[in-house]
Symmetry: C2
Subunit: 184 residues, 2 copies
């Protein structure tokens, strides 16, 4: 068992997970994303970290070891790091949460929710590689790829942060939560 | 298309759906639960509304007509009623939401979230027929029966209300949302 505090963040694409993780980072937490773990493996295997290679690796690991497999690689990575607090950005399923619960005692499992409309607009604005296309395409992918697993993780989160306002509102919600927990 | 406003409420067991629906009722909305629809059918068929009969009817309707089937019966029921605003307490899946979206233009799709711990304690306190048993039994049933479908609906809700505090807090969150929407 690791006694460091672990913050697990889940939420749909465009809901603000990475922003939340960055606020935790400012408080001294070390951030790991599930993508970092996959990039490590690409490096071990001498593969270029192209989106195609990373996708194939992630798929292979999940197929072989189930949903918890990436979580377990992530736990090893954190143990090597040895920080006093960690954040995992991008929890995708309850199986991952269970794997972390077996390794850490002090876990804050946080979901962040924004409406589909808000997330669509954010992703549009962000543009680049995660451009959601039009509303129909976004909605189809959103529901097919993520809704089922991520949704079931969100339903079971210990803390829900609603992110429909400004970045300042999101920061205030996060800091408020952290301060409340520190007092307990 | 029906021009009345329709509030759809989803959330896990013990999250506060029925309490939210009662606040809407105070504002003049007519409340229908998915259970009411099933009880109607039991009556039509001359069956006693025992939990066993109601369960079998619900299962049969969903098997024959898919997840949207109960929603469609619910829409017929509301059309006969003819109120200016309706609430459906207990949306279980996105398929149901889609069925309502085809019949109503003015929809507020609200999810209410409480942590598993909070919901467990509430159901314990409430006791009666929905006693959750011990934490392990609650957690298992919670995840198996509801998590997947209800969670995916929650992830796609237009509004998320967090219900971790008092009834007064919940009422304030709901009234605040309604007032904000009325101003738009």
């Amino acid at each position: 068992m690791t006694r460091a505090r672990l913050i697990l963040i889940t939420g749909m694409s465009g809901s603000g997970k990475t922003t939340l993780a960055s606020y935790a980072e400012e408080r001294g937490y070390e951030v790991t994303t599930m993508g970092d773990v996959i990039r490590d493996i690409a490096k071990e295997r001498g593969l270029e970290p192209t989106p195609r290679n990373l996708g194939l690796i992630a798929e292979g690991i999940r197929r072989e070891g189930g949903d918890a497999a990436v979580a377990e690689r992530c736990i090893e990575r954190m143990r090597r790091g040895g920080a006093a607090g960690f954040v995992v950005d991008g929890i995708r399923s309850l199986e991952e949460v269970d794997a972390f619960r077996e390794a850490f005692t002090d876990i804050l499992f946080i979901a962040v929710h924004s409406s589909p409309r808000t997330r669509f607009l954010r992703l549009k604005e962000r543009g680049r590689s995660d451009d959601p296309g039009d509303w129909e395409a976004f909605s189809r992918r959103d529901r097919r790829e993520l809704g089922f697993v991520v949704g079931s993780a969100m339903a079971m989160a210990d803390f829900m942060i609603v992110n429909e306002g400004s970045l300042e509102d999101l920061r205030r919600a996060f800091e408020g939560l952290m301060e409340r927990l520190d007092k307990e």
